[in-house]
Symmetry: C2
Subunit: 94 residues, 2 copies
Amino acid sequence: MSLIISGVDILGYVAGAITTLTFLPQVLKTIREKSVKDISLMMFVIAAVNEILWIIYGALKNDWVIILTNAVILCLSLTMIYLKFAYAHKHPSS
Amino acid sequence: MSLIISGVDILGYVAGAITTLTFLPQVLKTIREKSVKDISLMMFVIAAVNEILWIIYGALKNDWVIILTNAVILCLSLTMIYLKFAYAHKHPSS
């Protein structure tokens, strides 16, 4: 039984690790191509606010896995918000 | 003490509900503008695979909150993957 639980826990950690890095390909593509016209600013604003809520939740629960994983996603979200403004006028909507 | 725990739980549910709808503004913007050049396909492929792992994790844990919230995010991720291919040749990279 403990072996089964351990397998499920490992699946949870793997899924959590992948979640943390979901935004990374978008950040790398945007830095590479310097074009943000098709990117939804609202999506990353919602994500950033959401990560702050998760970090508060993790802090209240004293759960460092929640705090640290959401801190990484917050950094990637804030990076996308910065890039959206930084490159806003390079490729204007046509 | 139970009041404090209840408040933290509510914060968790609110954060979870927001997480579920994070991709929605991007889906709506992409449907509206029919342009996907700046969107990272890899991001949404990683998100979709990740949601499948979370759904399996939720099923093994018999946790319907995890199953249903990640099913919504999976639908939104698959929609973005479909849109990326559907509109791929409408605004070719320049």
